[in-house]
């Protein structure tokens, strides 16, 4: 679900940009760009909305006891997310996709804006929930459940700004690379036209700016993690023994039995910034969290993987910018090999996202809500076979749907978009 949600969020705002530009003097190429990418947006929207249902159901049946504990916080948030989706979908999305002929251009641009706002609001509600589960604030924990003291503090809990920034930037990155990849793949087969060059230009800038900002956001959020989830921070840094100074571990194989790193490649005394200090000024290592620390290997590696993918993406984006800047941002001016690289990196944003997600999930283990609710106490008692069968069925179905998405994307990238019509209440 999240895979398509990021595309949806990013594209909604990019579409708004295209739409606004198409109101200007030089409108033909921008209108064409809007036409093409609105189809991708519609596909991503369909997939993300439809797969939201299984996520909700899985959330309920895998962790049945969770809602009993956090229902007072999570309930209104989920309700707000669902209802805002409902409102923007029923009021604005249909008109945006199918009603363009019936309204003026300016009104249509307004509709696109409302859809973009709606997607943002729904994402915001979900982000609040996730970040609140990692850094609970504004609540009172009594008798095994949370009671809300102050909604404002719940909404703007300490990690929310960072999570929101990371998520928005990740969606910008994903969409930027998607547009780069599609443009490059088109340029491999034929010379691209003006509209595709404009899209490519937009994408290059989005990708460059988003990678740089993403780096800053990750560095900043590390501080919040160190303060509120010190065990996660220690596991990320693979910092085993508490002490006054920490090395920044760039590469290592963490060994949980020996509580040490093998094959470590470190930067001496540079890692203290992202770890929590206790009262006596010492850094807290993993030895302080016996039994309650996240799985070190998984946390460590998923973070490194996300970082590596992010660096590669930044590099690729900057090189592409340098190479096409003088050539009117024509992907055809790139070498064939580089166009192949871009085409291969079309969905690199998803890899980044999945690695980041794995990091968030494993890093907060064993807690579901930091500090109070552990994952093991809310797990349902479902038979292992049933669980396995469910997973296999989900995997197969998601595979089929992903293939369908790729197939359609390829088709429209090659042959263009054929518009479809639908009228409400008529058949």
């Amino acid at each position: 679900m999240l895979l398509f949600l990021v595309i949806e969020l990013g594209l909604a705002w990019v579409l708004l940009y295209f739409k606004v530009r198409s109101l200007g003097a030089d409108n033909a190429p921008w209108t064409e760009a809007y036409r093409f990418w609105v189809r991708v947006f519609a596909l991503a929207f369909v997939l993300s909305l439809a797969s939201g249902m299984p996520v909700l159901i899985q959330f309920g049946s895998l962790w049945p006891a969770l809602m009993e504990k956090i229902g007072n916080v999570a309930g209104p948030l989920l309700a707000a997310a669902i209802l805002s989706t409902f409102i923007f979908k029923s009021c604005f999305l249909g008109a945006m996709l199918f009603g363009q002929r019936y309204v003026s251009d300016r009104v249509h641009a307004l509709l696109v804006l409302m859809v973009a706002m709606g997607v943002l609001i729904s994402c915001f509600c979900l982000l609040v929930l996730v970040s609140w589960m990692h850094t609970p604030a504004g609540v009172n924990w009594t008798e095994g459940q949370y009671h809300v003291l102050d909604w404002w503090t719940v909404l703007f809990n300490p990690s929310l700004p960072w999570y929101a920034a990371i998520f928005v930037l990740a969606s910008a990155l994903t969409v930027g690379f998607l547009m780069l990849g599609v443009g490059a793949a088109q340029a491999l087969r034929r010379p691209v036209n003006e509209s595709e060059r404009f899209v490519f230009r937009t994408a290059v800038y989005i990708a460059c700016v988003a990678t740089v900002l993403q780096g800053l956001a990750v560095a900043g959020s590390g501080q919040v993690t160190a303060q509120y989830q010190p065990a996660k921070a220690a596991a990320t840094a693979a910092y085993w023994r508490s002490g006054p100074q920490a090395d920044l571990v760039l590469f290592a194989v963490p060994d949980e039995q020996a509580a040490a790193n093998r094959l470590a490649w470190t930067w001496r005394n540079a890692g203290s910034y992202w770890l929590q200090r206790d009262d006596s000024g010492n850094l807290r290592g993993l030895d302080r969290y016996a039994g309650m620390a996240p799985p070190v290997g998984l946390t460590f590696w998923s973070f490194r993987l996300a970082l590596l993918v992010g660096l590669v993406m930044a590099l690729v984006a900057l090189i592409t910018l340098r190479r096409t800047r003088r050539a009117h941002y024509d992907p055809g001016a790139l070498s064939r090999g580089w166009r192949h690289v871009l085409a291969w990196m079309t969905f690199s944003g998803w890899v980044l996202l999945l690695a980041g997600l794995a990091y968030m999930f494993f890093g907060s283990f064993p807690y579901a809500v930091t500090g109070t609710v552990t994952v093991s106490e809310i797990m349902g008692d479902i038979h292992f076979d049933a669980l396995l069968g469910g997973y296999i069925a989900y995997l197969v179905l998601y595979g089929v749907l992903l293939l369908g998405f790729f197939q359609l994307l390829r088709h429209i990238a090659r042959y263009g978009v054929v518009p479809i019509a639908r009228r409400r209440g008529r058949a």
Binding site: Q58, P64, M67, E68, G71, G75, A81, H147, I382, F405
Partner: protein
């Protein structure tokens, strides 16, 4: 009646802790009914597309097209309301129903995605997604039946109950097929209607068997409900409902038989009667369950979230409800009556070599 209930619980009828769960229960029930009935003909037509000849299938799907947008949202709304208003029942209901819910999620996902992808895919791929939609509808219908059967026997899973679940699934499938074909009978003419009559005739008895079977099992596996029906002041209601149900099924059967033998006019009678059957069955279920969410275990007051959260959710719902109502009435008011297929627009014959190039 409300004051009686309140005094039985020992609270004031104006206490929000008392009436808010009631309001949400009513809302949830309304959403469930709307979802079953309105999404029902959608599911039914989807299932029937499996049996239809290939050249009629696209027409069946395009008949559904205007309501897909609205129909796919009922389940979301219901789930969202359930989780936000009754978090304490959420766990015990969801935890028990892993497999049927999994099935439901898969079916709903498959059908809503394939419908939209079919709409946007090139001609040669469309039949593939159409099959996906039909399969998804089939799975969804079966899952609804499983869910209902499990809820009725309060999540017991011995061997006999398993076969009851299978029976529930099949009869839900039949009921949705009946609803779908009754809708088609009202909606279209020609070959499709003739086929819909035959489908309806095959489905109606299974649907009746399902409705009776579910109610009987509900009564006999829960002594409290049996008592509620047979004893006390409400038994005339129960009897009236049973008689209505019987009358509906008989009239559907007779109407379909007549349509085969003599009459061939557009009629909304089977559809209205099937709607009535659905309403009665669901109403009976709701009546039997009230005030429990999990039978004899969790009442709606046990399950409700704290008053503050409920107030917040209610505020959100009050904002959203008018929107939902206006939108839905606007969408659904054309659901009834005969549909005339759109004809492709007539293009002017373009004379060759007139006015320069023709791209």
């Amino acid at each position: 009646m409300i004051t009686e209930l309140a005094t039985a619980l020992g609270v004031n009828a104006h206490d929000p802790a008392f009436w808010m769960p009631l309001v949400f229960m009513g809302l949830l029930f309304a959403i469930i009914v709307a979802g079953t009935v309105l999404d029902g003909f959608d599911i039914g037509v989807g299932c029937l597309a499996l049996f239809a000849p290939a050249d009629l299938r696209p027409r069946m799907l395009s008949l559904l097209s205007p309501w897909r947008d609205a129909n796919e949202f009922w389940l979301f709304l219901g789930m969202g309301l359930f989780v936000s208003a009754f978090p304490h029942a959420w766990g015990s209901v969801m935890g028990e129903l892993y497999l049927p819910l999994c099935l439901l999620a898969l079916g709903v996902l498959l059908r809503s995605v394939s419908f939209e992808l079919r709409l946007r895919s090139p001609q040669e791929l469309q039949s593939r997604w159409l099959f996906g939609f039909a399969l998804g509808s089939l799975i969804t219908a079966l899952a609804h039946g499983f869910l209902l059967a499990q809820v009725v026997v309060t999540y017991q899973d011995d061997a006999g109950y398993f076969w009851f679940s299978v029976f529930g699934g099949l009869s839900a499938l039949a009921a949705y097929c009946l609803l779908g074909s009754a809708w088609l009978i009202m909606r279209v003419a020609g070959e499709l209607r003739a086929r819909a009559v035959m489908w309806g005739r095959r489905a109606v008895r299974w649907a009746a068997a399902g409705a009776v079977g579910v109610s009987v099992v509900l009564a006999f596996s829960n002594a409290g409900i049996f008592l509620k029906w047979s004893d006390g002041p409400h038994w005339p209601i129960a009897v009236t409902l049973w008689v209505c149900l019987l009358a509906c099924f008989v009239s559907i059967e007779m109407c379909l038989q007549r349509m085969i033998n003599s009459s061939y006019r557009t009629t909304a009678l089977p559809f209205v009667m099937t709607l009535l059957v659905f309403l009665i069955t669901l109403g009976g279920l709701g009546y039997s369950f009230f005030p429990y969410l999990v039978l004899d275990d969790i009442t709606i007051w046990d399950a409700a979230a704290s008053v503050d959260s409920l107030r917040l959710v209610l505020a959100v719902a009050v904002v959203a409800l008018p929107v939902a109502l206006i939108f839905n009435i606007w969408v659904y008011w054309r659901m009834f009556g005969l549909s005339i297929a759109p004809t492709p627009p007539e293009f002017k014959e373009q004379a060759p070599n007139e006015g320069g190039t023709v791209a």
